[in-house]
């Protein structure tokens, strides 16, 4: 057994008008939580669909747990929550779940027991009300999301792939999803999710891969990604914001190459060869009322903006991530 859950090598996918994925290679170790990050249209969904053998790459290879992903038995070990979600509307909830579980090779008896277990856990089955008997379209949107999530995990997959899992989730379901991811990780499962919300990724992922315009920009563990980016960032908090003199200092290209201005809080990237101490002195001279001045690792968000840049966030070509 390989210790890589996913091993993608030199994968290319071309569409008529553009290249969706360009020579992409990435490795996801077993038991990790992996973030696939990128702006809309970067090729995230295309990559995920290729992993799942829904669409075929033009070239390159993909293996899952050491087997080629064309092996249907390997695909049965994956749970997939697509970005665009939906269930059979007119079908009973329990029958939908049973159908999807059976498609993953679960026998009906085990599936029935697990369905009850999960529905209780997500309070879809209480002593007074069993939503399993209801038709899908009788459920609220939040409940449908729960059912969809149950269907992803019902067959106890070793690899869970979540495509933009947080889009459209209410805060309660989003929290439940985070809890579930943490629990999966604790049980040694591999989770890979795509997102363009860096905060989620920074909090949850062990490793990330940033892709833009179908190409890998960088990948690695969160720690190494941050280390590589260097301690070139300054967190600055000012009481009363940046008045004229301070603004001039922050805009000095000799000192600061990039400013993320949040009015009272600034995340600065030092210019090459600039000294943080010089910056601090200049700010004090300019009369800044400093509450916080801290040399720090850049946030994932900063790294993302720095490496992908505004140009990378161009309009998605395929409409999917």
């Amino acid at each position: 057994m390989s210790d890589l859950a996913i091993d993608i090598r030199n994968v290319v996918k071309r569409y008529e008008a553009h290249v969706a994925v360009r020579d992409l290679s990435l490795q996801v170790p077993c038991g990790s939580v992996y973030g696939l990050l990128g702006p809309n249209g970067a090729g995230k969904t295309t990559t995920i669909r290729m992993i799942l053998d829904i669409i075929l790459p033009d070239s390159g290879s993909i293996s899952l747990f050491g087997n080629p992903n064309t092996d249907r038995r390997v695909l049965d070990r994956i749970g997939y929550l697509p970005e665009e979600r939906g269930l059979y509307k007119k079908m009973q909830v329990r029958r939908v779940l049973m159908f999807l579980a059976e498609l993953k090779g679960l026998n009906p008896k085990t599936a029935a027991a697990r369905i009850d277990e999960w529905m209780e856990r997500f309070s879809l089955m209480t002593p007074d009300k069993d939503w399993g008997e209801a038709k899908v379209d009788e459920l609220s949107r939040g409940m449908q999301q729960k059912v969809q999530f149950i269907s992803t995990l019902l067959h106890d997959p070793d690899l869970v792939i979540l495509d933009e899992p947080f889009s459209g989730l209410d805060p309660i379901n989003a929290q439940a999803l985070k809890d579930a991811v943490v629990e999966l990780k604790r049980r040694g499962k591999t989770v890979i999710f795509s997102t363009h919300v860096m905060e989620n990724a920074e909090r949850m992922c062990d490793s990330v891969c940033i892709i833009a315009r179908g190409e890998k920009v960088l990948d690695g563990s969160i720690t190494s990604v941050k280390q590589d980016a260097g301690m070139r960032n300054v967190a600055l908090a000012l009481r009363g914001g940046a008045h004229n003199g301070v603004g001039t200092v922050l805009r000095d290209p000799q000192l600061v190459s990039k400013v993320d201005d949040s009015n009272n809080f600034f995340e600065l990237e030092l210019a090459p060869n600039a000294d943080a101490q010089v910056l601090l002195r200049r700010l004090i001279d300019a009369g800044a009322n400093i509450e916080r001045f801290e040399l720090m690792q850049p946030s994932l968000h900063q790294i993302f903006l720095q490496r992908v840049g505004a140009a990378g966030v161009e309009a998605g070509l395929s409409g999917h991530g």
Binding site: Y80, Y88, K90, F99, E102, L103, S151
Partner: protein, 441 residues
């Protein structure tokens, strides 16, 4: 075979069979079809010579007892219900005839009295003419019966005058010859010609209806999976080709279940209701016994080979059209678009069906033979031809094989469109784009 195909097929089958619409259709169609077939039977029984023929006055100015003979002829007909008295014979001299006619005319014009009056005179005996005036003068069956009665009576009188023995005359007068019809082909005897016609048309209509209804069912199922976005989860667990196959098998199974239920229930309703309908029509015993056997045997008299071959044609025809319908469902985004996009499929199906009339009239014409070989028309046309004429087993096998090849071609084509279309949202593809999908899939 991938057992996931069976899981998909099972879901499709059960979800369909469980719906109220399915149960209703399964019960209602045989009732309606039985009604559609029993109504003409009712009408023909009803329009057989009715008891009205008895409720007439016969003005006999022949002086040779022709009137009495006519009355007797009508009274002795068991097909005419004897619930009323008559006919009433009035012998008049030729001189009194105009007055008698006037009296009879007034009698007929009174409500709820005589139906009409018949005038026979010397010109009748010479075989020239008789006159009838009455309410039922436009009822073909009544007038046919009356005409027969007059002819036979005149014949008897003339034979008597020529000195033929009364026993012989009696025998000739009672003659009720009936022409029995039975189909005879190189395969031997098989049912009456009428039975074959019924069976052929019923099978043809059932096949066409089933293919359209179930084909559209597949299309809507595919479209539902696409629009609810459930397709992506399902396709991550099963190959699109297997999903398509399972869907077609499941829906086809439900369709086959329904068709068999239609045939069984239809046959049952026919044999159960036909006597009741005939009784209600007030027909005599003679019609009542011959009527239902003709109609009910429309199903029962159908040769098993025809039934078996029909099911085989249903299967290949259904696969052919269902996969095309699935392709249509996969390339559109809404019901409205689907209605439009299915037109080519519908036209293809109808291109065979529009010729069904000429095929029925002459099942051995070149047109009929050609149609029964074309893969997209043969599933509907061949079973009809088989019901009407004898088709060699080699032709049937050849045409089935061709239809099967056609189905495989359709599956290949539709599978490629389906694979791409299921995950393609947005604008409906043009034909040029479709061609690209087929090439690149």
């Amino acid at each position: 075979m991938d057992n996931k195909i069976l899981i998909v097929a099972k879901r499709e089958y059960l979800e369909r069979v469980r719906t109220r619409a399915f149960v209703l259709m399964t019960l209602l169609v045989p009732i309606l079809m039985s009604a559609a077939m029993l109504f003409p039977l009712y009408m023909s029984a009803k329009s057989g010579p009715s008891s009205s023929v008895r409720r007439i006055r016969i003005l006999d100015a022949t002086g040779a007892g022709v009137g009495d003979r006519i009355a007797q002829n009508i009274r002795s007909d068991s097909a005419i219900a004897d619930t009323v008295q008559g006919p009433f014979v009035v012998a008049v001299s030729p001189a009194d005839l105009p007055a008698a006619e006037k009296a009879a005319e007034q009698e007929v014009m009174k409500p709820k009295s005589l139906q009409g009056y018949l005038v026979v005179d010397d010109s009748t005996i010479t075989g020239k003419r008789a006159k009838y005036f009455g309410r039922n003068a436009a009822t073909i069956s009544d007038m046919d019966r009356l005409e027969t009665a007059v002819r036979q009576s005149v014949l008897t009188v003339r034979l008597e005058r020529e000195g033929v023995r009364p026993a012989v005359i009696n025998d000739v007068a009672k003659n009720r010859l009936e022409l029995s019809r039975e189909k005879l082909t190189e395969k031997g005897r098989g049912g009456s010609g009428l039975t074959g016609l019924f069976a052929g048309i019923i099978v043809g209509v059932l096949l066409l209806m089933s293919i359209i209804v179930n084909g559209q069912m597949v299309m809507r199922g595919v479209l539902e999976e696409k629009t609810t976005r459930v397709a992506e989860v399902v396709i991550s667990s099963i190959k699109p080709e297997s999903l398509l196959a399972g869907k077609v098998i499941g829906v086809g199974g439900a369709g086959l279940t329904q068709m068999i239920a239609w045939l069984v229930l239809g046959g049952y309703f026919q044999s159960f209701f036909a006597p009741i309908v005939l009784k209600a029509a007030g027909a005599g015993a003679a019609v009542a016994t011959s009527g239902p056997s003709t109609v009910a045997s429309g199903f029962a008299g159908m040769a098993w080979s025809v039934l078996g071959v029909s099911i085989a044609y249903f299967l290949v025809g259904f696969v052919f059209y269902a996969t095309l319908y699935a392709a249509v469902g996969s390339m559109v985004n809404s019901d409205q678009e689907a209605q439009q996009a299915q037109t080519p499929v519908m036209l293809l199906l109808m291109s065979g069906w529009i010729f069904v009339n000429p095929v029925i009239i002459n099942p051995n014409s070149t047109l009929a033979v050609v149609l029964s070989w074309l893969p997209w028309a043969s599933p509907v046309i061949m079973p009809i031809r088989m019901g009407l004429t004898s088709v060699s087993p080699a032709s049937v096998a050849g045409s089935l094989l061709l239809a099967l090849l056609g189905s495989i071609g359709a599956v290949w084509l539709a599978g490629r469109i389906y694979r791409v279309g299921m995950l393609m949202y947005g604008k409906k593809p043009s034909f040029a784009e479709l061609a690209k999908w087929i090439r690149y899939a």
